[in-house]
């Protein structure tokens, strides 16, 4: 589907016609809201598991309010329930500064800037080659815990919160969630080497 331009009625109908056993998608933003509303009206989600990446991020979950689709499997950010010390510090500081709760975008943006700072510090210079070297296996503390930028494929090991959608006090929340650490789910080294042959 084209991003941001989903025709909800037609898409939901086409899915119904295909009689899928389950639905896997990564809709977000206005597309997600349209899809949820149209799908619930047309009975698409009845007795059918839905896996929607990003659906639990407050950015996209909160606008749905009490219409949040209960039971969907999603990745997201249950900011209200994560009580690791590093996250609590981040959340308290964020709420104090902005008088609002953090979204996943806040965590990602914060961690990206922290990464840039850590890389610059380690390189001690803005020279490209030194920065590239500094990024190899760089360790950065983020609100989700320490992550590493793997030298092998330049991917960070930042993980995701995976859970299901529930509704609490008229608001969509994530329930039964757990943190899936990226280091356990990134492709193993030999697969990466096969996918990215050295030039």
């Amino acid at each position: 589907m084209p991003l941001g331009k989903i025709e909800p009625g037609a898409v939901v109908q086409a899915l119904l016609d295909a009689h899928p056993d389950a639905i896997f998608s990564s809709l977000f933003g206005p597309d997600l809201a349209r899809f949820v509303r149209e799908g619930q009206l047309r009975g698409l989600f009845k007795d059918r598991p839905v896996f929607n990446l990003l659906g639990g991020e407050p950015e996209y979950l909160d606008p749905l309010k009490d219409e949040a689709p209960v039971g969907w499997f999603v990745t997201g950010y249950p900011w209200y329930a994560i009580d690791t010390p590093e996250h609590q510090r981040f959340r308290d500081a964020y709420q104090k500064k902005f008088n609002d709760y953090p979204r996943l975008g806040s965590v990602v943006g914060y961690s990206a800037v922290k990464t840039a700072a850590a890389a610059l510090q380690r390189a001690g210079s803005t020279d490209t080659d030194k920065l590239v070297a500094a990024m190899q296996d760089l360790r950065v503390d983020t609100p989700f815990g320490a992550v590493t930028y793997r030298a092998l494929d330049h991917q960070s090991t930042m993980g995701a919160y995976v859970g299901r959608i529930g509704v609490h006090d008229g608001k969509g929340v994530m329930v039964d969630w757990r943190y899936a650490d990226g280091k356990d789910y990134l492709p193993p080294d030999d697969v990466v080497r096969r996918l990215r042959p050295a030039d």
Partner: protein, 632 residues
């Protein structure tokens, strides 16, 4: 696909078509009378949705009334109508005599201001309105559940069509509107107050936009992307139906709505061994349909061909640029010397910014060749910039030598421009402008969706210049050389016989034809040349950024080029350079200073078109000497 599910998909298409028609009817109504293509129509639609959300929430909480939504929708439509009247009075009223390029750009300025005003007032979060009481369920039809609200929408379109038809055909107001659409001057001579009529018509068009925005709320959340998302569709519908024709908009909306729904229903289709993912095509199908129709019927389905352009007085903005004098050459040499010394200042960021400015200047100058000198309003010049950027990036990714990759860019862009020019040479004015937009959108969606070749939304990375010019300073000198040569070439072209013939064809196509000038051939040649220079700029861009992504050929880049051209002054020799420098610097400074930089750019656009239509260059060549003379 069974007959039943086909019927359901047709219903889906018609429901979408219905609201698409209502918003487009407002756009076409405004154009019919004022001859202004209102880019801000989508913004009015967006305001309608946000106002309806706020009013609905307030009313619903206050009275807990089942009618809250309907009152909120009405309130939103009326409020947007008033905002429309305000925009007409304060801004558009000054522009009725201006060239259409200025009008279009002005309404785009409104888009930017409204976007940031909405962000400031309502916040960044999407606002999903409550369901409408009484219409919140589904009905079983053809064995499927159909939302009741879709059936309601299905009725709205025809009702609005009938209401507008009665208004136009049976009332005195309609009589006046029709008279003014046909001949503005004569209507004025017969005592019709043109100014009041324009305000009322604009308010009515805005009312329809606001109403559609409000009625969309139960189906999709109010969000900040609504404005541009709907305006592209509404443009297609009005152009396809014939600008100014309300029944045309109705038919066109149905064609577009049903085509889209059928594309999604079709799924993957295999034709002659090649599998085409039909749902992916929905992004461009409307533009393809529009382009095909315009090729056969240059004025759309129900449109009347525009009156042949008469010999007009040349507006000040387009007065022939003066041949370069010794003073200009001297100024150019001083500028070049200054630019050559810049790296000595040792400010790395200034170099990065300067490279951006130089590339933007070449891009803008190439646009000026067709839009300024050729009189072809282009809303899709980014297509050639992007084709050049992608051509170089692809060549680099396949390990072609640097020079080959660099040369390939203007060649590819030029060929694309030639093909486009050959296809739409019959069109002119606003229809041609819309086709340039359609072409750019088609190229953009190919870049976005053909993952295997273009890398999809990730684009192509790892495009760097060879070692000899890899350092920032060396690359800067390289860009400076190429851009200086390109800008000089474009100035020289303007003063060749070809350049004169091109400008003559712009100002009086009839007289040019009578003098034996092949107007169409000149225009095609100008397109090919302009495309080539834009492609060269695109190639430099890809090498300066280390890669390319689809945003290189998205609508905002086309608009940026237009703004830079106007900001610098269309008839000033150094206009593109001045415009690119001022705009790039301004955008950079604003983006660092405030979250609301779009509104800042929008205000600058509005100031240029309403107060300084001659741009910076025009101030220097036109107003300054006058001031000096007056002072003496």
């Amino acid at each position: 696909m069974s007959a039943a599910s086909l019927a359901v998909q047709l219903l889906n298409g018609l429901a979408s078509a219905s609201s698409l028609f209502v918003v487009s009817a407002g756009l076409t109504l405004i154009f019919g009378v004022t001859r202004i293509v209102n880019f801000a129509h989508g913004s009015l639609y967006m305001i309608g949705a946000y106002v309806a959300y706020s009013a609905g929430t307030a009313l619903g909480a206050y009275a807990d009334s089942p009618l809250a939504f309907w009152w909120a929708a009405l309130l939103a439509a009326v409020a947007v109508g008033c905002i429309g009247a305000l925009i007409e009075r304060l801004l558009l009223r000054r522009l009725y005599a201006a060239p259409e390029l200025l009008q279009l750009t002005a309404t785009f300025g409104v888009v930017l201001v409204v976007r940031d005003a909405t962000l400031a007032l309502f916040g960044a979060e999407d606002r999903l309105g409550p369901r409408v009481e009484g219409l919140d369920g589904a009905v079983r039809l053809f064995g499927s559940a159909i939302p009741q609200y879709d059936l309601f929408l299905l009725v709205v379109g025809p009702v609005v069509l009938i209401a507008l038809t009665v208004l136009m055909q049976r009332t005195r107001f309609g009589l006046i509107v029709r008279a003014a659409s046909e001949n503005r001057i004569l209507a004025g001579a017969l005592g019709i107050d043109e100014r009041r009529l324009f305000t009322v018509v604009f308010a009515l068009g805005a009312f329809l936009a606001g109403l559609t925005g409000a009625l969309t709320l139960p189906r999709e959340p109010a969000n900040l992307g609504m404005d541009l998302a709907v305006i592209a569709d509404a443009f297609v519908v009005t152009v396809l139906g014939g600008l100014g024709s309300i029944p045309g908009a109705f038919v066109a909306a149905i064609i577009i709505g049903i085509t889209k729904a059928l594309c999604i229903a079709a799924g993957n289709v295999t034709i002659a061994g090649a599998t085409i993912a039909m749902p992916k095509i929905t992004l461009v199908i409307e533009f393809i349909v529009m382009a095909l129709v315009l090729l056969v019927r240059p004025s759309g389905l129900f449109g009347t061909p525009p009156a042949p352009p008469a010999t007009t007085t040349v507006p000040l903005e387009r007065a022939l640029i003066a041949r370069p004098t010794q003073r200009h050459v001297l100024a150019a040499v001083v500028l070049l010397a200054f630019a050559a010394l810049l790296p000595l200042a040792g400010d790395a960021y200034a170099l990065v910014l300067s490279i951006d400015i130089l590339i933007a200047a070449l891009f803008t100058a190439s646009l000026r060749l067709i839009s300024g000198f050729g009189g072809i309003t282009s809303f899709g010049h980014a297509a050639y910039f992007g084709i050049g950027a992608y051509a170089s990036a692809l060549a680099a990714a396949h390990h072609y030598p640097f020079v080959a990759a660099l040369v390939l860019a203007p060649a590819a862009a030029s060929v694309a421009a030639l093909a486009f020019g050959a296809l739409c040479v019959r069109l002119s004015g606003i229809y041609l402008a819309m086709l340039t937009l359609a072409f750019a959108q088609i190229v953009w969606s190919i870049a976005l969706q053909w993952d295997a070749v273009t890398g999809g939304s990730n684009g192509i990375a790892g495009v760097w210049p060879p070692d000899a010019i890899a350092s920032r300073t060396h690359f800067y000198y390289f860009v400076l050389c190429i851009v200086a040569m390109g800008l000089s070439a474009l100035v020289v072209i303007a003063f060749t016989p070809f350049g004169y013939a091109l400008r003559g064809s712009r100002d009086s196509p009839l007289r040019a034809l009578a003098s034996g000038i092949d107007v169409r051939a000149r225009r095609i040649k100008a397109l090919a040349l302009a495309g080539g220079f834009a492609g060269l700029a695109g190639s430099l861009y890809a090498y300066s950024k280390g890669g390319v992504a689809p945003d290189a050929l998205a609508i905002p880049r086309s608009v940026d080029a237009l703004v830079m051209m106007l900001l610098g002054g269309q008839n000033a020799l150094f206009g593109p350079l001045l415009g690119a420098a001022a705009f790039t610097w301004l955008q950079d400074a604003l983006a660092r200073a405030t979250e609301y930089w779009r509104a800042g750019v929008g205000v600058v656009i509005l100031l240029i078109v309403s107060v300084f239509p001659l741009g910076i260059g025009g101030i220097a060549t036109h107003w300054l000497p006058r001031l000096v003379r007056g002072w003496r």
